[in-house]
Amino acid sequence: MIEIKDLHKYFGDLHVLKGIDLNVQKGEVLSIIGASGSGKSTLLYCINGLEAIQKGEVLVDGVSVHAKDTDLNKLRTKMGMVFQQFNSFPHLTALENVALAPKIVKGKSKAEAKEIARAQLEHVGLGDKIDNYPSALSGGQQQRLAIARALAMEPEYMLFDEATSALDPELVGEVLDTMRLLAEEGMTMICVTHEMGFARDVSDRVAYFHQGIMEEIGPPKQIFGEPTSEHTAKFLANVR
C-alpha cells in the first residue's frame, strides 16, 4: 500500500503540493488528471523519492520514502516508473536496456537477466526488436520498451508520468493497450494522464488535481458523471 500523508512540496517559493492525503491499495489503478502545473507529476516523483519533500510523509508498504535511513535504491525496485520522454538508454540495445537493472541492481546472473528481459519484451510486444537500438524504434515502441524495463524489476507498483503525452497520436493506442494489459493482470498503478478515455475505462479511482490540491477523488463514473467540484467540472468540460 502507498500512503501519502499531508505532503507538501516547494520548488523555491513555489508551493507545488499543498497537503496531499491519499492511499493507494494493492491492485488498484488510480488515474490522476488535472491541468499542467497542478502538481500531478511532482507527486509521482515524491512517491519514489526522486524529489525531496518539505513536509508530510510517503509510506510504501510501511517504509518511509524520505526518512534518512531508508535504502532508497532498494525501495525503488518496488516501484517502476515510466516517463513522458521514454528515456530509453540510447547506447544499449532493447535487450540490454531491460536486462541491465536486474543484473546490476538485483544481482541476477547474465543469463537470468537476459531471460527476464526477453520475457518482458515479449510481454509488451517487442519480441522481434530485441537487438534493436532505441534509435531504430518508434516512440510507441520506445515507450513500451520503457515499460518492459520497469517490469523487469518485478515491481509491485507502477508509476506512469504522462506516458503517452510525447507520442504521435497514432502511437498512443499501442501504449495504452499495454497499460490496460498491466491493469488486467492486477498491477497496482498510479497514472498521471491526459487520456480521459483511459482514466474512465481502466481506473478504479480518478483523482483531480487543481493548483497543488487534490480537489476530489472517486470512482470514474462519479468524477466524469457528476463531479462535486466546479473546478473538476470546468476542467472536464474543457478537455472534452
Binding site: 519514489n48 517502476g80 537493472a101
Partner: protein, 221 residues
C-alpha cells in the same frame, strides 16, 4: 640568388631506425598523458559542475590555465618553474606532466559539454530503476558522454602527439628531441626535420585511422 645547398639524405636514412625508435617514445608519452588526462579531465569536469566550492575553483583555475596559456610555458613550469623551488624532475616526467596538465584542461571542457548534452532525465530513469548514483554514472551517463566527446578526444590525442615536440626544449629525446640532436651532429638540418615531419604526419594519419576503426566498432547506435 645563389642556391648552392646540396641535399644529402643518406645520413638521415642511416639514422632512420633511431628516429623510428624515438617516434615510439613520442607515441608512448602522448598516449600515457592522454590516458591520465582523460581520468583527470573527467574528475575536473565533475568537480567544476558539482564539486564543493574550493575544489570547483581549483578545477576552474586548472582548466583556464591549461587552455589560455602557451603549452610551452606549461612545460616550463614543470621544468624551470619547479626547478626554482628545488624540485628537479627528469625530462620524461616534465614532458609527461606538462602534456597531461594540458590534456586534462582541454578534455575537462569537452567532458563538461558532453555531460550537458545528456538529458537529466536519463539520470532520473536510471535512479528510478534502483541504480545507485555511481552505477547510473558509470553505466548510463558516462558511456553516452564518451560518444559525444569521442572525436574531440581524438583531436586532443593528435594535438598531444604534435605538442610533445616541445619536449626537445627541455632536453627530452622523443622524436623532435632526437631529430634535433642528430641534425646538429651532422648539419643535415633540413633533411632531418623534413623526414621527421613526414614521420609525424604518418603517426597522425595512423592514429586517425585507428580511432575511426574503434568508433565504427564501438558506436553501433
Amino acid at each position: 640568388m645563389n642556391f648552392e645547398y646540396t641535399f644529402h639524405w643518406r645520413p638521415v636514412m642511416r639514422k632512420l631506425p633511431d628516429l623510428l625508435e624515438a617516434s615510439l617514445v613520442t607515441l608512448q608519452v602522448s598516449v600515457l598523458s592522454m590516458i591520465i588526462g582523460i581520468v583527470l579531465g573527467l574528475v575536473l569536469a565533475l568537480l567544476r559542475m558539482n564539486g564543493p566550492k574550493p575544489l570547483a575553483w581549483i578545477a576552474s583555475a586548472w582548466v583556464e590555465t591549461a587552455r589560455n596559456t602557451p603549452a610551452l610555458f606549461q612545460l616550463f613550469f614543470f621544468s624551470f618553474g619547479l626547478g626554482a623551488f628545488g624540485m628537479h624532475l627528469t625530462p620524461y616526467l616534465i614532458v609527461l606532466f606538462g602534456l597531461t596538465f594540458n590534456n586534462a584542461g582541454y578534455l575537462a571542457e569537452n567532458f563538461r559539454g558532453g555531460f550537458q548534452a545528456v538529458p537529466d532525465t536519463q539520470l532520473r530513469a536510471a535512479r528510478s530503476l534502483g541504480m545507485s548514483a555511481w552505477q547510473s554514472y558509470t553505466r548510463i551517463i558516462i558511456p553516452q558522454v564518451f560518444r559525444i566527446v569521442y572525436h574531440p578526444m581524438t583531436n586532443q590525442l593528435v594535438w598531444a602527439v604534435l605538442m610533445s615536440s616541445l619536449a626537445m626544449i627541455v632536453g627530452f629525446r622523443e622524436l623532435a628531441g632526437e631529430t634535433q640532436a642528430l641534425a646538429f651532429k651532422t648539419f643535415r638540418i633540413f633533411e632531418y626535420f623534413a623526414v621527421t615531419a613526414l614521420i609525424y604526419y604518418a603517426m597522425v594519419k595512423i592514429i586517425l585511422g585507428i580511432s575511426r576503426l574503434i568508433a565504427w566498432r564501438m558506436f553501433r547506435y
